[in-house]
Amino acid sequence: MSQTDSTIQTMNKSSHTLEVTARGISFTQLWRREWQVKQQGAVQWLYPLVLFLVIITLFPLAVGSEPALLQRLGVSAVWIAALLSLVMGVDGLFKPALDNGTLAQLVVAKASLPLWVLIRLAIHWIFSSGIVAALSLLAVPLFQLSWFEAWILMASIVTGSPMLLMLSAVASSLTLSLKNGAVLVPLIALPMQLPVLIFATGAVDLFATGLNGLPILALLLAGSIVSVLVMPWVIALTLKMAWLN
């Protein structure tokens, strides 16, 4: 599309005024903007999901078709795939906003950075772990898990993944000012995320053997709630510090 200057209308600039409707950007406006950014950048969020699907599809092919072995490894395989997919997807969480000046505009306009971080992560969660949780039901045909185990597996991903995402996001924000910092994100985040992986797979195993794994799921949920409440403030602080470097 091309435009020549001769087609540009001369307009009376002083005749047009807009009324201020709020002190700054609202929650809804921020949510809509971040949703549009995510929705219209499908390639960026589809890649980790494809990675997840590739891992859980290749795993049964490599292990073999013995049902007992597949059932024993299924939960761990799906969880490892979910974790790797989540860690791979956090690279673009904040770096583009720093590079393209969005973060600067938010700071100058005195928008709430923790709120923006929370919204951005919530939408990222929907487009990553939320979909991964739904896709985890593929463990029924691929790993011959029972539907009951598959639902518990999905519940463990739903309860544990917010905490995983927050830990990855902290690592991502810490490495923002470093050249090739994305390489360091898994190295920083994975050691902190391992306990979540162990607890989550343990909870599904308990349910599968007829024991009560609910306290572990409740613990994961509590950890996720606390991290969702605290981490956006920590991340907002580290993002501000990234300016100084």
């Binding site: 540009i8 600039k13 709020a22 219209q40 393209n100 306009a109």
Partner: protein, 209 residues
């Protein structure tokens, strides 16, 4: 709007510095409503750093910045920098809407169309910003100048706003700057080109360490 009794912005013995290294010392400036101050100086004198300090992106460690008599920034200044705040995933209209939302404005589709027409981007509303040239991308961020008045943001901090713009667009921008200043706003801007509408000049070379 009438001129304010107190200066809109006062810099008193300000040290322009980023990190540990001071670039300029004892910078002094009085910027009143109606002022268009052209910030000049050789490369590396700290023009961008000074604007970032005033925008609240970098701390003021030495000296004083007073906005309308207050030590803290009570307003949302407009800050146009080399990083434009344009997300390539979004359309032209979505990007402009966001940049205006930041100032508490909720522009209608008509407002957006008028602002984009003013910068010569009519018909581009639904086009992805990633398809635009550097100059056109810059025009998106400048389109908000059309809708922002001194009531919304009385201070504009513009870092090389004319970069990548053609002659006609620069002339239209200068008209808008003059209108904004006449309406009671104040502008502090850098530009390596001559700024015909400037009524004040601050040369940072005079304050270099």
């Amino acid at each position: 709007m009438t001129a304010l009794a107190t200066p809109l912005l006062v810099l008193d013995e300000l040290t322009v510095q980023r990190g540990e290294i001071p670039l300029c010392e004892a910078v002094t400036l009085h910027l009143s409503a109606g002022s268009i101050c052209h910030l000049i100086g050789a490369n590396g004198t700290g023009k961008t750093t000074l604007l970032m300090q005033l925008a609240g992106l970098l701390p003021v460690l030495t000296g004083e910045v007073v906005y309308q008599g207050a030590a803290t920034l009570p307003i949302q200044p407009l800050y146009v920098s080399h990083q434009l705040g344009i997300h390539p995933n979004l359309t032209v209209a979505q990007n402009l809407t966001f940049l205006l939302n930041l100032y508490g404005l909720a522009p209608s589709a008509t407002d957006i169309n008028e602002a984009l027409t003013w910068v010569g981007l009519q018909g581009f509303e639904t086009l992805s910003s990633s398809h635009l040239s550097a100059g056109q991308t810059r025009r998106i961020t400048l389109a908000r100048l059309y809708l922002l008045t001194p009531d919304v943001t009385p201070l504009w901090l513009l870092d090389e706003p004319f970069t990548a713009l053609d002659v006609d667009m620069v002339a239209r921008m200068e008209d808008r700057l003059r209108d904004f200043a006449n309406a009671g706003g104040a502008i502090l801007m850098t530009s390596h080109q001559a700024v015909g509408v400037a009524n004040q000049v601050l040369d940072l070379s005079d304050y270099m360490v």
